[in-house]
Protein backbone atom coordinates (compact mmCIF):
# COMPACT_ATOMS: atom_id res chain seq x y z
CA UNK A 1 0.00 0.00 0.00
CA UNK A 2 1.34 3.36 -1.04
CA UNK A 3 1.97 5.81 1.78
CA UNK A 4 0.45 9.27 1.34
CA UNK A 5 2.49 11.91 3.15
CA UNK A 6 0.83 15.04 4.42
CA UNK A 7 2.18 18.17 2.77
CA UNK A 8 3.75 20.02 5.63
CA UNK A 9 6.53 22.43 4.68
CA UNK A 10 6.93 23.49 8.28
CA UNK A 11 8.58 20.16 8.85
CA UNK A 12 11.14 21.12 6.24
CA UNK A 13 11.54 24.47 7.95
CA UNK A 14 12.36 22.59 11.11
CA UNK A 15 14.92 20.49 9.28
CA UNK A 16 16.42 23.57 7.66
CA UNK A 17 16.86 25.18 11.04
CA UNK A 18 18.43 22.17 12.70
CA UNK A 19 20.49 20.15 10.25
CA UNK A 20 22.56 20.53 7.14
CA UNK A 21 21.85 18.32 4.14
CA UNK A 22 24.67 16.00 5.10
CA UNK A 23 23.37 15.62 8.64
CA UNK A 24 19.91 14.47 7.52
CA UNK A 25 18.86 10.92 8.12
CA UNK A 26 18.00 8.75 5.18
CA UNK A 27 14.25 9.11 5.70
CA UNK A 28 14.53 12.87 6.19
CA UNK A 29 16.70 13.22 3.10
CA UNK A 30 14.17 11.31 1.06
CA UNK A 31 11.40 13.52 2.42
CA UNK A 32 13.36 16.68 1.51
CA UNK A 33 14.14 15.43 -1.94
CA UNK A 34 10.45 14.94 -2.66
CA UNK A 35 9.81 18.68 -2.14
CA UNK A 36 13.08 20.29 -3.15
CA UNK A 37 15.29 20.07 -6.22
CA UNK A 38 18.35 18.75 -4.48
CA UNK A 39 21.20 19.47 -2.11
CA UNK A 40 22.00 22.94 -3.49
CA UNK A 41 18.47 24.24 -3.08
CA UNK A 42 18.28 22.85 0.41
CA UNK A 43 21.52 24.55 1.40
CA UNK A 44 20.45 27.85 -0.13
CA UNK A 45 17.18 27.79 1.75
CA UNK A 46 18.93 26.83 4.94
CA UNK A 47 21.45 29.67 4.62
CA UNK A 48 18.73 32.17 3.88
CA UNK A 49 16.56 31.04 6.76
CA UNK A 50 19.38 31.23 9.28
CA UNK A 51 20.49 34.60 8.05
CA UNK A 52 16.99 36.06 8.01
CA UNK A 53 16.31 34.96 11.54
CA UNK A 54 19.57 36.38 12.73
CA UNK A 55 19.20 39.53 10.73
CA UNK A 56 15.68 40.21 11.94
CA UNK A 57 16.95 40.11 15.49
CA UNK A 58 19.78 42.47 14.66
CA UNK A 59 17.69 45.01 12.84
CA UNK A 60 17.42 48.32 14.53
CA UNK A 61 13.88 48.92 15.63
CA UNK A 62 12.37 52.31 15.14
CA UNK A 63 10.69 54.04 18.05
CA UNK A 64 7.40 55.81 18.20
CA UNK A 65 7.24 59.48 18.98
CA UNK A 66 5.29 61.24 21.69
CA UNK A 67 3.37 63.32 19.20
CA UNK A 68 1.76 60.24 17.73
CA UNK A 69 0.87 59.05 21.20
CA UNK A 70 -0.64 62.41 22.11
CA UNK A 71 -2.73 62.45 18.96
CA UNK A 72 -4.03 58.96 19.55
CA UNK A 73 -4.87 59.64 23.17
CA UNK A 74 -6.54 62.87 22.14
CA UNK A 75 -8.67 60.94 19.68
CA UNK A 76 -9.68 58.55 22.44
CA UNK A 77 -10.62 61.38 24.79
CA UNK A 78 -12.59 63.11 22.09
CA UNK A 79 -14.47 59.93 21.40
CA UNK A 80 -15.32 59.39 25.05
CA UNK A 81 -16.48 62.96 25.54
CA UNK A 82 -20.26 62.92 25.77
CA UNK A 83 -22.09 64.99 23.22
CA UNK A 84 -25.69 66.10 23.31
CA UNK A 85 -25.94 65.13 19.69
CA UNK A 86 -26.02 61.46 20.52
CA UNK A 87 -29.52 61.43 21.88
CA UNK A 88 -30.81 62.45 18.49
CA UNK A 89 -28.54 60.20 16.53
CA UNK A 90 -29.20 57.18 18.67
CA UNK A 91 -32.94 57.20 18.27
CA UNK A 92 -32.66 54.50 15.66
CA UNK A 93 -30.68 52.29 17.98
CA UNK A 94 -33.49 52.42 20.49
CA UNK A 95 -35.47 50.09 18.32
CA UNK A 96 -32.55 47.86 17.32
CA UNK A 97 -30.05 47.71 20.12
CA UNK A 98 -27.43 45.15 19.33
CA UNK A 99 -25.17 45.54 22.34
CA UNK A 100 -25.97 46.03 25.97
CA UNK A 101 -23.38 48.71 26.42
CA UNK A 102 -25.36 50.85 24.01
CA UNK A 103 -28.26 51.08 26.42
CA UNK A 104 -26.96 54.12 28.21
CA UNK A 105 -27.35 56.32 25.15
CA UNK A 106 -31.09 55.72 24.71
CA UNK A 107 -31.50 56.01 28.47
CA UNK A 108 -29.82 59.39 28.39
CA UNK A 109 -31.94 60.41 25.43
CA UNK A 110 -35.21 59.46 27.05
CA UNK A 111 -34.16 60.98 30.33
CA UNK A 112 -33.49 64.26 28.59
CA UNK A 113 -36.77 64.01 26.73
CA UNK A 114 -38.69 63.35 29.96
CA UNK A 115 -37.01 66.32 31.61
CA UNK A 116 -37.96 68.58 28.73
CA UNK A 117 -41.56 67.36 28.80
CA UNK A 118 -41.74 67.95 32.53
CA UNK A 119 -40.36 71.42 32.14
CA UNK A 120 -42.85 72.16 29.40
CA UNK A 121 -45.78 70.98 31.50
CA UNK A 122 -44.58 73.08 34.39
CA UNK A 123 -44.33 76.16 32.24
CA UNK A 124 -47.71 75.56 30.61
CA UNK A 125 -49.75 74.68 33.68
CA UNK A 126 -48.17 75.95 36.85
CA UNK A 127 -46.78 79.28 35.83
CA UNK A 128 -49.97 80.69 34.20
CA UNK A 129 -51.92 80.16 37.45
CA UNK A 130 -49.21 81.83 39.40
CA UNK A 131 -49.27 84.72 36.98
CA UNK A 132 -52.95 85.29 37.55
CA UNK A 133 -52.40 85.58 41.26
CA UNK A 134 -49.72 88.11 40.73
CA UNK A 135 -51.99 90.03 38.38
CA UNK A 136 -54.68 90.24 41.03
CA UNK A 137 -52.21 91.65 43.46
CA UNK A 138 -51.07 94.25 40.99
CA UNK A 139 -54.56 95.42 40.31
CA UNK A 140 -55.30 95.90 43.94
CA UNK A 141 -55.48 99.64 44.49
CA UNK A 142 -53.58 101.06 47.43
CA UNK A 143 -56.04 102.59 49.73
CA UNK A 144 -56.32 104.26 53.01
CA UNK A 145 -58.44 102.36 55.40
CA UNK A 146 -59.84 103.93 58.45
CA UNK A 147 -60.93 101.45 60.99
CA UNK A 148 -61.99 102.10 64.47
CA UNK A 149 -61.37 99.01 66.48
CA UNK A 150 -63.91 98.35 69.13
CA UNK A 151 -66.28 100.98 67.93
CA UNK A 152 -69.84 99.82 68.01
CA UNK A 153 -71.03 102.60 65.76
CA UNK A 154 -68.77 102.13 62.83
CA UNK A 155 -70.70 102.91 59.68
CA UNK A 156 -71.20 100.54 56.86
CA UNK A 157 -70.89 103.12 54.11
CA UNK A 158 -69.01 106.35 54.10
CA UNK A 159 -69.82 109.34 52.01
CA UNK A 160 -66.74 110.64 50.28
CA UNK A 161 -65.91 114.26 50.26
CA UNK A 162 -62.82 116.23 49.52
CA UNK A 163 -60.61 116.41 52.60
CA UNK A 164 -61.03 120.12 53.04
CA UNK A 165 -64.76 119.87 53.04
CA UNK A 166 -65.18 117.08 55.49
CA UNK A 167 -65.93 119.34 58.36
CA UNK A 168 -68.39 121.37 56.33
CA UNK A 169 -70.57 118.45 55.50
CA UNK A 170 -73.73 118.85 57.51
CA UNK A 171 -75.84 115.95 56.71
CA UNK A 172 -75.22 113.84 53.74
CA UNK A 173 -75.96 110.41 55.04
CA UNK A 174 -77.95 108.73 57.64
CA UNK A 175 -76.65 106.86 60.63
CA UNK A 176 -76.02 103.17 60.32
CA UNK A 177 -79.08 101.13 61.03
CA UNK A 178 -77.35 98.81 63.34
CA UNK A 179 -74.18 99.67 65.20
CA UNK A 180 -73.28 96.11 65.98
CA UNK A 181 -73.32 94.97 62.41
CA UNK A 182 -70.78 97.63 61.46
CA UNK A 183 -68.14 96.48 63.91
CA UNK A 184 -66.07 94.64 61.37
CA UNK A 185 -66.44 96.94 58.47
CA UNK A 186 -63.71 98.98 57.07
CA UNK A 187 -63.91 102.13 55.11
CA UNK A 188 -61.62 102.77 52.25
CA UNK A 189 -61.22 106.03 50.57
CA UNK A 190 -59.09 106.59 47.63
CA UNK A 191 -58.42 108.97 44.86
CA UNK A 192 -58.31 107.79 41.34
CA UNK A 193 -54.82 107.44 39.98
CA UNK A 194 -55.23 109.93 37.20
CA UNK A 195 -56.74 112.49 39.53
CA UNK A 196 -59.16 113.70 36.89
CA UNK A 197 -61.95 114.63 39.18
CA UNK A 198 -63.45 111.53 40.52
CA UNK A 199 -63.16 110.18 43.98
CA UNK A 200 -64.11 106.62 44.55
CA UNK A 201 -65.29 105.25 47.75
CA UNK A 202 -64.93 101.62 48.21
CA UNK A 203 -66.67 99.87 50.93
CA UNK A 204 -65.37 96.50 51.77
CA UNK A 205 -67.31 94.08 53.84
CA UNK A 206 -66.13 90.79 54.99
CA UNK A 207 -68.13 87.72 54.47
CA UNK A 208 -69.23 87.30 58.01
CA UNK A 209 -70.64 90.73 58.42
CA UNK A 210 -72.45 90.50 55.14
CA UNK A 211 -74.13 87.34 56.22
CA UNK A 212 -75.32 89.12 59.32
CA UNK A 213 -76.50 92.03 57.30
CA UNK A 214 -78.35 89.85 54.95
CA UNK A 215 -80.37 88.55 57.86
CA UNK A 216 -81.03 91.89 59.52
CA UNK A 217 -81.49 94.01 56.49
CA UNK A 218 -84.63 96.03 56.67
CA UNK A 219 -85.24 95.96 52.99
CA UNK A 220 -84.48 92.30 52.84
CA UNK A 221 -83.55 92.38 49.23
CA UNK A 222 -81.08 89.71 48.19
CA UNK A 223 -77.58 90.87 47.48
CA UNK A 224 -75.21 89.00 45.20
CA UNK A 225 -72.19 91.19 45.57
CA UNK A 226 -70.36 92.50 48.58
CA UNK A 227 -69.24 95.70 47.01
CA UNK A 228 -71.11 98.86 46.62
CA UNK A 229 -69.24 101.64 45.03
CA UNK A 230 -70.11 105.27 45.17
CA UNK A 231 -68.73 107.60 42.62
CA UNK A 232 -68.59 111.23 43.53
CA UNK A 233 -67.51 114.08 41.34
CA UNK A 234 -64.33 115.58 42.70
CA UNK A 235 -65.31 119.16 42.01
CA UNK A 236 -68.34 118.97 44.22
CA UNK A 237 -67.83 120.76 47.47
CA UNK A 238 -70.53 118.83 49.17
CA UNK A 239 -71.44 115.34 48.38
CA UNK A 240 -75.00 115.06 47.32
CA UNK A 241 -76.03 111.52 47.56
CA UNK A 242 -78.85 112.13 45.18
CA UNK A 243 -76.25 112.70 42.51
CA UNK A 244 -74.24 109.71 43.52
CA UNK A 245 -74.47 106.82 41.17
CA UNK A 246 -74.16 103.43 42.72
CA UNK A 247 -72.58 100.85 40.48
CA UNK A 248 -73.86 97.43 41.12
CA UNK A 249 -71.99 94.22 40.76
CA UNK A 250 -74.39 93.14 38.08
CA UNK A 251 -73.39 96.10 35.95
CA UNK A 252 -69.74 95.40 36.46
CA UNK A 253 -70.20 91.85 35.36
CA UNK A 254 -71.98 92.84 32.18
CA UNK A 255 -69.50 95.48 31.23
CA UNK A 256 -66.33 95.35 33.16
CA UNK A 257 -64.46 97.54 30.74
CA UNK A 258 -66.86 100.36 31.45
CA UNK A 259 -66.36 100.08 35.13
CA UNK A 260 -62.63 100.15 34.72
CA UNK A 261 -62.86 103.27 32.60
CA UNK A 262 -64.89 105.08 35.24
CA UNK A 263 -62.41 104.30 37.96
CA UNK A 264 -64.62 102.01 39.90
CA UNK A 265 -62.69 99.42 41.84
CA UNK A 266 -63.97 96.10 42.97
CA UNK A 267 -62.15 94.92 46.02
CA UNK A 268 -63.98 91.84 47.09
CA UNK A 269 -66.98 89.83 46.02
CA UNK A 270 -67.81 87.09 48.40
CA UNK A 271 -71.26 87.81 49.74
CA UNK A 272 -74.27 85.79 48.86
CA UNK A 273 -76.93 88.54 49.06
CA UNK A 274 -77.43 91.69 47.10
CA UNK A 275 -77.98 95.09 48.45
CA UNK A 276 -80.49 97.44 47.01
CA UNK A 277 -79.86 101.05 46.02
CA UNK A 278 -82.06 102.48 48.71
CA UNK A 279 -80.28 100.69 51.47
CA UNK A 280 -76.93 101.90 50.36
CA UNK A 281 -78.05 105.47 50.13
CA UNK A 282 -79.64 105.33 53.54
CA UNK A 283 -76.51 103.95 55.16
CA UNK A 284 -74.35 106.54 53.46
CA UNK A 285 -76.45 109.29 54.89
CA UNK A 286 -76.28 107.77 58.34
CA UNK A 287 -72.50 107.62 58.20
CA UNK A 288 -72.30 111.23 57.10
CA UNK A 289 -74.18 112.31 60.18
CA UNK A 290 -71.90 110.40 62.48
CA UNK A 291 -69.43 112.90 63.97
CA UNK A 292 -66.97 110.18 64.90
CA UNK A 293 -66.73 108.99 61.33
CA UNK A 294 -66.34 112.50 60.12
CA UNK A 295 -63.57 113.05 62.65
CA UNK A 296 -61.79 109.92 61.57
CA UNK A 297 -62.06 110.94 57.95
CA UNK A 298 -60.64 114.35 58.77
CA UNK A 299 -57.72 112.75 60.59
CA UNK A 300 -57.17 110.36 57.74
CA UNK A 301 -56.96 113.15 55.24
Amino acid sequence: MERHERYDPEDIEHLLSERSFDALLEEERAYVMRHLGGREEYENMRALLLHVRHDEQQREEIEGDEQTRDRVMGAFRAQQRPTWRIWLNSLASVFAIDEHRSYWKPALAFGSLAALIGLGVYLAVVLPGKGELELAEVRQVPQKTVTEPGSSKEPALTPVTPPSDVAAQPETAAAPPNAAEAADRSVAIEHSSDNTGEVDAVVRNNEASLEEESQEDVVGAPVTGAVATVTVPAHAETVDLDDVRVVEVRELVTNQSMSNASGVQITKTKARTERSKGTVRQRSRNMANDPEVRGLLAQGW
Binding site: Y7, P9, A47, A75, Q79, R101
Partner: protein, 199 residues
Amino acid sequence: MGLFSKEYHQSSDERLMELVVRGDERAFAALYDRYQRRLLNYFHRMLWSDRETARDHVQELFTKLAQRPASYDPSRPFRTWLFSVANNMCKNAYRHQVVVKAAALELRQAPDRVDAQNGVEVDRERFRDRLDEELDRLDPDHKATFVMRYHEDMAIKEIAAAFGCSEGTVKSRLFYTLKKLAERLKEFDPQALERHGKA
Protein backbone atom coordinates in the same frame (compact mmCIF):
# COMPACT_ATOMS: atom_id res chain seq x y z
CA MET B 1 -14.60 48.99 37.54
CA GLY B 2 -11.15 50.21 36.69
CA LEU B 3 -7.81 48.75 37.59
CA PHE B 4 -4.87 50.07 39.50
CA SER B 5 -1.93 51.36 37.54
CA LYS B 6 0.15 48.24 38.08
CA GLU B 7 -2.67 45.96 37.04
CA TYR B 8 -3.04 47.62 33.68
CA HIS B 9 0.36 46.39 32.64
CA GLN B 10 -0.31 42.90 33.96
CA SER B 11 -3.75 42.47 32.46
CA SER B 12 -4.31 40.53 29.28
CA ASP B 13 -5.00 42.28 26.03
CA GLU B 14 -8.56 41.06 26.02
CA ARG B 15 -9.21 42.37 29.54
CA LEU B 16 -7.80 45.74 28.60
CA MET B 17 -10.01 45.85 25.54
CA GLU B 18 -13.06 45.28 27.74
CA LEU B 19 -12.06 48.33 29.72
CA VAL B 20 -11.39 50.31 26.56
CA VAL B 21 -14.89 49.59 25.32
CA ARG B 22 -16.17 51.03 28.61
CA GLY B 23 -14.13 54.16 28.05
CA ASP B 24 -11.10 53.43 30.24
CA GLU B 25 -8.37 55.73 28.99
CA ARG B 26 -5.59 54.09 30.98
CA ALA B 27 -6.41 50.71 29.51
CA PHE B 28 -6.21 52.21 26.05
CA ALA B 29 -2.87 53.81 26.90
CA ALA B 30 -1.58 50.46 28.18
CA LEU B 31 -2.55 48.75 24.93
CA TYR B 32 -0.94 51.49 22.91
CA ASP B 33 2.31 51.25 24.83
CA ARG B 34 2.26 47.48 24.48
CA TYR B 35 1.83 47.33 20.72
CA GLN B 36 2.83 50.60 19.14
CA ARG B 37 6.46 49.63 18.74
CA ARG B 38 5.75 46.27 17.21
CA LEU B 39 3.19 47.69 14.86
CA LEU B 40 5.50 50.52 13.92
CA ASN B 41 8.19 48.09 12.87
CA TYR B 42 5.69 45.85 11.16
CA PHE B 43 4.41 48.74 9.08
CA HIS B 44 7.99 49.77 8.46
CA ARG B 45 8.80 46.38 7.01
CA MET B 46 5.59 46.13 5.08
CA LEU B 47 5.42 49.65 3.68
CA TRP B 48 8.70 50.12 1.87
CA SER B 49 10.74 50.90 4.98
CA ASP B 50 9.21 54.35 5.17
CA ARG B 51 9.23 55.56 8.75
CA GLU B 52 6.78 58.41 8.29
CA THR B 53 4.34 56.15 6.52
CA ALA B 54 4.72 53.61 9.29
CA ARG B 55 4.02 56.24 11.94
CA ASP B 56 0.99 57.48 10.06
CA HIS B 57 -0.40 53.98 9.86
CA VAL B 58 0.17 53.33 13.55
CA GLN B 59 -1.66 56.52 14.37
CA GLU B 60 -4.46 55.65 12.00
CA LEU B 61 -4.84 52.16 13.42
CA PHE B 62 -5.06 53.29 17.03
CA THR B 63 -7.32 56.17 16.11
CA LYS B 64 -9.70 53.67 14.55
CA LEU B 65 -9.47 51.61 17.69
CA ALA B 66 -10.22 54.66 19.83
CA GLN B 67 -13.19 55.68 17.75
CA ARG B 68 -14.66 52.23 17.31
CA PRO B 69 -13.51 49.97 20.12
CA ALA B 70 -16.66 47.91 19.72
CA SER B 71 -15.41 46.71 16.34
CA TYR B 72 -13.11 44.34 18.19
CA ASP B 73 -14.42 40.80 18.31
CA PRO B 74 -13.91 39.57 21.90
CA SER B 75 -13.95 35.96 20.73
CA ARG B 76 -10.64 36.50 18.90
CA PRO B 77 -7.25 37.05 20.48
CA PHE B 78 -6.52 40.74 20.45
CA ARG B 79 -3.02 40.33 19.09
CA THR B 80 -4.05 38.44 15.98
CA TRP B 81 -7.02 40.73 15.46
CA LEU B 82 -4.74 43.75 15.67
CA PHE B 83 -2.32 42.35 13.11
CA SER B 84 -5.15 41.38 10.80
CA VAL B 85 -6.30 45.00 10.88
CA ALA B 86 -2.74 46.13 10.25
CA ASN B 87 -2.43 43.72 7.35
CA ASN B 88 -5.62 45.02 5.78
CA MET B 89 -4.29 48.54 6.10
CA CYS B 90 -1.14 47.45 4.30
CA LYS B 91 -3.19 45.98 1.48
CA ASN B 92 -5.05 49.23 1.10
CA ALA B 93 -1.75 51.07 1.07
CA TYR B 94 -0.49 48.78 -1.69
CA ARG B 95 -3.50 49.51 -3.81
CA HIS B 96 -2.99 53.24 -3.47
CA GLN B 97 0.75 53.17 -3.89
CA VAL B 98 1.18 51.03 -6.97
CA VAL B 99 2.98 53.77 -8.78
CA VAL B 100 5.19 54.59 -5.83
CA LYS B 101 6.00 50.94 -5.36
CA ALA B 102 7.02 50.55 -9.00
CA ALA B 103 9.24 53.60 -8.72
CA ALA B 104 10.84 52.25 -5.56
CA LEU B 105 11.60 48.94 -7.24
CA GLU B 106 13.27 50.71 -10.12
CA LEU B 107 15.49 52.57 -7.70
CA ARG B 108 16.44 49.43 -5.81
CA GLN B 109 17.51 47.56 -8.92
CA ALA B 110 20.19 50.11 -9.58
CA PRO B 111 23.02 48.77 -7.31
CA ASP B 112 25.47 46.38 -8.93
CA ARG B 113 25.96 42.82 -7.74
CA VAL B 114 29.62 42.40 -8.50
CA ASP B 115 30.74 41.72 -4.94
CA ALA B 116 27.93 39.32 -4.21
CA GLN B 117 28.42 37.41 -7.38
CA ASN B 118 32.06 36.99 -6.54
CA GLY B 119 30.96 35.50 -3.25
CA VAL B 120 33.71 37.15 -1.27
CA GLU B 121 31.97 38.83 1.66
CA VAL B 122 28.29 39.30 2.17
CA ASP B 123 27.50 42.82 3.02
CA ARG B 124 24.79 42.78 5.60
CA GLU B 125 23.29 46.03 4.53
CA ARG B 126 23.27 45.04 0.90
CA PHE B 127 21.64 41.75 1.73
CA ARG B 128 18.93 43.55 3.67
CA ASP B 129 18.25 45.81 0.79
CA ARG B 130 18.04 42.89 -1.59
CA LEU B 131 15.81 40.97 0.79
CA ASP B 132 13.45 43.91 1.19
CA GLU B 133 13.44 44.35 -2.54
CA GLU B 134 12.44 40.77 -3.14
CA LEU B 135 9.85 40.91 -0.40
CA ASP B 136 8.25 43.88 -2.07
CA ARG B 137 7.93 41.83 -5.23
CA LEU B 138 6.02 39.12 -3.43
CA ASP B 139 2.30 38.85 -3.10
CA PRO B 140 1.19 40.98 -0.09
CA ASP B 141 -0.18 37.97 1.77
CA HIS B 142 3.05 36.02 1.27
CA LYS B 143 5.12 38.97 2.34
CA ALA B 144 2.97 39.59 5.42
CA THR B 145 3.17 35.92 6.33
CA PHE B 146 6.94 35.98 6.02
CA VAL B 147 7.27 39.15 8.12
CA MET B 148 4.94 37.88 10.81
CA ARG B 149 6.76 34.60 11.01
CA TYR B 150 10.37 35.75 10.97
CA HIS B 151 10.18 39.36 12.07
CA GLU B 152 7.35 39.29 14.61
CA ASP B 153 8.15 35.70 15.58
CA MET B 154 4.50 34.74 15.56
CA ALA B 155 3.41 31.13 15.65
CA ILE B 156 1.80 29.43 12.66
CA LYS B 157 -1.47 29.30 14.56
CA GLU B 158 -1.43 33.00 15.30
CA ILE B 159 -0.67 33.87 11.70
CA ALA B 160 -3.49 31.66 10.55
CA ALA B 161 -5.85 33.43 12.96
CA ALA B 162 -4.69 36.83 11.74
CA PHE B 163 -5.36 35.93 8.13
CA GLY B 164 -8.43 33.89 8.84
CA CYS B 165 -7.05 30.88 7.00
CA SER B 166 -5.85 27.39 7.87
CA GLU B 167 -2.45 26.58 9.30
CA GLY B 168 -1.70 24.54 6.20
CA THR B 169 -2.14 27.62 4.06
CA VAL B 170 0.32 29.54 6.22
CA LYS B 171 2.87 26.72 6.01
CA SER B 172 2.49 26.56 2.28
CA ARG B 173 3.00 30.30 1.94
CA LEU B 174 6.10 30.18 4.09
CA PHE B 175 7.60 27.29 2.19
CA TYR B 176 7.15 28.83 -1.24
CA THR B 177 8.24 32.26 -0.05
CA LEU B 178 11.44 30.82 1.38
CA LYS B 179 12.02 28.77 -1.73
CA LYS B 180 11.47 31.73 -4.01
CA LEU B 181 13.70 34.04 -2.00
CA ALA B 182 16.47 31.48 -1.89
CA GLU B 183 16.34 31.17 -5.63
CA ARG B 184 16.36 34.93 -6.20
CA LEU B 185 19.13 35.54 -3.70
CA LYS B 186 21.30 32.64 -4.74
CA GLU B 187 23.96 35.04 -6.00
CA PHE B 188 24.92 35.38 -2.37
CA ASP B 189 27.20 32.58 -1.23
CA PRO B 190 25.06 30.23 0.86
CA GLN B 191 28.02 29.23 2.98
CA ALA B 192 28.90 32.86 3.61
CA LEU B 193 25.29 33.58 4.50
CA GLU B 194 25.26 30.64 6.87
CA ARG B 195 28.50 31.74 8.50
CA HIS B 196 27.12 35.25 8.75
CA GLY B 197 23.96 33.90 10.30
CA LYS B 198 25.85 31.97 12.91
CA ALA B 199 28.14 34.86 13.71
